[in-house]
Amino acid sequence: MSIILKQGQGLLYMKVGMHAQESLDVIIARKTKEIEQAGFALWGYGGSTCHPQTMVQPFARSYEQRGQVIYLCMQPMESSHFAEPIRAAEFSVNGIDWQPIHPAINVLGSRYALAITNLRKEELDLPLAKTKVALGNSMGSSGDRYIAGRVDKGCLETTEEIGTTAAPEPRVHIGLVADIVKPYAVYVRNELAKEKAHG
C-alpha cells in the first residue's frame, strides 16, 4: 500500500532501528495489541530535536485545531544500538504531573514517547527537500538540510504533494506510518525515578 501526502501535511519523521529477529509485521502486531487494549500505544524515542513539550505537542495541537492529524513516518533501518530495556512505569504530559502507564503498554529504554494509533505498513519515498521544519529555531529550513549529521528526526511540513510522482533525490524510504493522537508526546520514567520522587 502507498500513501499520498498533501501539501501542508504535518509529519514527524524518524528512523526506527529494527531487530534482525523482529520484522515489521511482528512489531505492528505487538503495538496494535497495545492499541486495542489501551486505546493507543506509546512509541519510545529520544534525542533533543523532537522534545515532547516544546516541539511535538504544540506541533500536533496546531494541526488538530485545523481538523488534521500528524503522521508519524518511520524509516526502518538495521540498528545495533539499543538502550537498556528498562520498562517505563509512568508518563507525564508536562513533566510535573505523572500517571501510571497502562499495563498493556511497554515502552523500553526511552525518555520520551509518542502516542499513536492506526500503525500500519505504508510504502513511500519521501523527498526531504519537499518538506520544511514546522517550528523551533530551525523553522523554515528545508528538510533535507535539517535531517543531517546528528539530526535523525524532525517535525516537518510538506511544501508540495508527495507520493503521486517519482520522488527526486535525496529521499528516504518510509515503511511504517502511524497517526499521532492525544496526548501526542509524553515524558516517561521508570520505577526508580518514581520511588525517588515519592521519597
Binding site: 533533543s48 530535536t49 504544540p58 496546531s62 517550528l135 523551533g136 529555531n137 530551525s138
Partner: protein
Amino acid sequence: MNPPWGASNEGESVKVFVQRGIEATAYQGEGMVVIADDSELEWPKRVLANVQQFIIGSGFFVQKMMPQMHQYHLDDAPNLRSCNLIVKALPGNKPPGPSATISDSVRLANFYGRDNPPKVRYVRELKRLDYGKAHDDEYSLELLE
C-alpha cells in the same frame, strides 16, 4: 542578555527580556542583546527588525551590530548564528513609568516556543542530607564475599 529567541512570536520574548533590562538600568546606559542572525532563515530577520524597533521606541538606539558572530552546538540548528546588538540610551532618556507585571497574555503565549508560556516562578533546590553524593538510585553496591 541572551533571551529566548522568539522564533514563534516574532521576537516578543526578546522584547520582554530587553524591557526588563532597560527597566533595571532606569532607561539609561547601554547593553548588548545576543539574538539570532541567520542569512537563510526568515524568522531571525523579522525578530531583528521588531527588536530594533522596540529598542528605538524605548529611547535607545543601536550603537553597533556585530552580525553572525556566534555559532552553537545545537543539535536541531547546527548552522544557526547569532549577532551582538549593542544598544545605548539617548541622552536624558526617562522611564515612562514604574516596572509592572506583564498582564498581556498575548505577549507571553509563545514565550518559550509555540504554545509554551512561562509556568514556573521559581526553581527551588531540594535539600538532601547526602549533599554532594551521587543519587542512590544511580548505582547499586555489590559487596565483597
